[in-house]
């Protein structure tokens, strides 16, 4: 269950390594798509409309079971609409399964949209506090790491200037610095690393490696099989909401490639 890399790197004191960080038991997710716009209260009260609006159910995941060991790095591949993002949302806790059970240890930080919580009119300092608390940190934990965040983001003298005066690169660096400032237990990434310049990408990759060495679990969704092979020890192939294959990253990506080339 535990990948060799994780058991080497995780210090003996990190007790969490003894059980999976994420456990997904026979999970199904059913989205409910509305075929028509919602009805009006007026029509409903006047009795001109029956209760319940026209809803089509769409099963995005069907009976998926999965355990991710603490410190493991798992890549998720599959074509569009195969349920990759839904699986990430379950782990990130923004969605509850329709059936089945999801268990997660520790704090999940999604590196999906790093700057979504930022506000252009606020200073860098205020945005750090806002995004940090959004990721579930306490104010005092952010204060204690403020210098490190500012260093990593390389925004130096701009810390008290409004965010709208920042360059795009600075905003991105700040977003990444806040998300990874404290040690998240589970990192969830949805193809977010294709942004920023080459040097910053390398810096991000180094920081992620650093977090993994300290026992963070890492889940990456990507169409880029090369980065899955490079970053992940294990890969999961989702097909129409079900697990098609799971195993060493090289094997699973190879099988996926073979089918799509055929």
């Amino acid at each position: 269950m535990i990948s060799p890399r994780a058991s080497e790197a995780v210090p003996a004191t990190t007790v969490r390594a003894t059980r999976p960080a994420v456990v997904i038991d026979d999970v199904s997710v059913c989205y409910r798509l509305r075929r028509e716009p919602p009805g009006s209260l007026r029509a409903y009260l006047l009795g001109r409309q029956r209760t319940g609006d026209a809803i089509v159910e769409h099963e995005a995941l069907r009976g998926v079971s999965l355990a991710i060991a603490a410190g493991e790095s798992l890549g998720i591949i599959g074509s569009n609409g195969s349920g990759k993002t839904t699986l990430l949302r379950l782990i990130a806790r923004v969605l509850r399964p329709t059936r089945g059970r999801v268990r997660v240890d520790g704090r999940v930080v999604p590196l999906l949209d790093l700057v979504g919580g930022f506000h252009p009119e606020l200073s860098g300092r205020d945005n750090i506090l806002l995004n940090g608390t959004l990721f579930g940190l306490a104010r005092r934990d952010i204060d204690a790491r403020l210098d490190r965040i500012v260093d990593f983001a390389e925004i130096g003298g701009f810390i008290d200037a409004p965010l709208r005066t920042y360059s795009a690169g600075m905003v991105l660096r700040l977003g990444f610095a806040v998300a990874t400032a404290t040690e998240p237990d589970v990192l969830v990434i949805d193809e977010a690393l294709g942004v920023g310049d080459e040097r910053f990408q390398r810096k991000c990759a180094a920081r992620i490696d650093d977090l993994r060495r300290h026992g963070a679990t890492f889940v990456l969704v990507s169409h880029d099989l090369h980065s899955i092979r490079r970053l992940c020890s294990r890969a999961l192939w989702l097909d129409a909401g079900q697990i098609r294959a799971s195993g060493p990253a090289a094997e699973v990506t190879g099988a996926y490639l073979a089918e799509h080339d055929a």
């Binding site: 059980r19 806790r93 059970r101 999906l112 979504g116 608390t133």
Partner: protein, 281 residues
């Protein structure tokens, strides 16, 4: 070693989708965990609002004052209302009423619509409702500065009964939370709820003694005012401020009951449907 691992595995996971306390209770526990975020959201709302308006903080103060000036002129000259403290009566009513309507409308829109962020980062949803409510309370308290100035200028005596004014603010805030969350739940289900609310709010204001004195309403319609919770809140707010009288215990009791009841209803309705909202597209 094996034994330790077993003992560890018996520990509960930090998040377990199958472990469900009542959603109402769970939301309160989670909200407490995210209290620093609420504080940051309120700071953001207030800073953003005042940073770019030319008048700065003055804006939330000036707009009700202007309304008060115009309406006072109309009432004092046209309707010959003799009460000399009418401007203070009007302003105190308007402040509380505006707080209620703005907070409930904003909360309903935000909570029914959600944002893209909700699909990516977990937070208890009510964080945003509480932040909107707290922002409204801060604006209300700021807007009380000119109210006090106006009262001093009109020579209205102040006294110890003032300590009852925060009670009225707490009541109307709880009531607004309940109404706002209930509206949000309805707005997801019915597309015209928010438009209807604007119409209802317009009528509701005239059934509440906000701009007119309660005494000008004919005896046979008084019951309409007496059954309206907003009447209770506004009276509990005005009596201590303008007449240095503690609110009647029966009315205070009614106000608190209505506030707690409505807040509980809205909290229940919203938390039980919050998961359901996430799977609706």
């Amino acid at each position: 070693m094996k034994r330790t691992a077993d003992a560890l595995d018996a520990r509960e996971y930090d998040y377990d989708s199958a472990r469900r306390r009542s959603p109402m209770v769970e939301e309160v526990v989670e909200l407490r965990r995210y209290r620093d975020l609420v504080r940051q959201l309120v700071t953001r709302n207030i800073k953003v609002r005042y940073q770019h308006s030319v008048l700065g903080v003055g804006w939330s103060v000036l707009s009700p004052l202007l309304t008060t000036a115009v309406l006072s002129l109309v009432f004092l000259t046209l309707f010959r209302q003799t009460a000399p403290d009418y401007p203070a009566y009007l302003l105190s009513g308007l402040l509380l009423w505006n707080f209620f309507i703005q907070t409930t409308s904003t909360m309903a829109v935000e909570m029914a619509g959600g944002t893209d962020l909700w699909k990516r980062v977990y937070t208890p949803r009510t964080v945003y409702a509480i932040a909107t409510l707290a922002t409204g309370v801060v604006h209300l308290v700021l807007a009380m500065v000119p109210l006090v100035a106006l009262m001093l200028w009109l020579g209205i005596p102040t006294g110890a009964a003032w300590i009852a004014a925060p009670f009225a603010i707490v009541c109307v805030a709880l009531f607004a939370l309940g109404v706002g969350l209930t509206l949000a739940v309805l707005a997801v289900r019915f597309r015209d709820v928010l438009d209807l609310y604007q119409v209802v709010a317009g009528a509701w204001m005239y059934l509440t003694p906000v701009i007119y004195p309660r005494s000008i309403v004919p005896e046979r319609y008084q019951w309409l005012l007496a059954l309206n919770p907003m009447t209770w809140f506004i009276e509990c707010f005005r009596l201590p401020l303008l007449e240095n009288t503690m609110p009647d215990p029966v009315m205070a009791g009614l106000a608190l009951t209505a506030a707690l009841g409505t807040a509980g209803l809205g909290w229940w309705a919203f938390t039980r449907s919050a998961d359901d909202l996430a799977t609706r597209l």
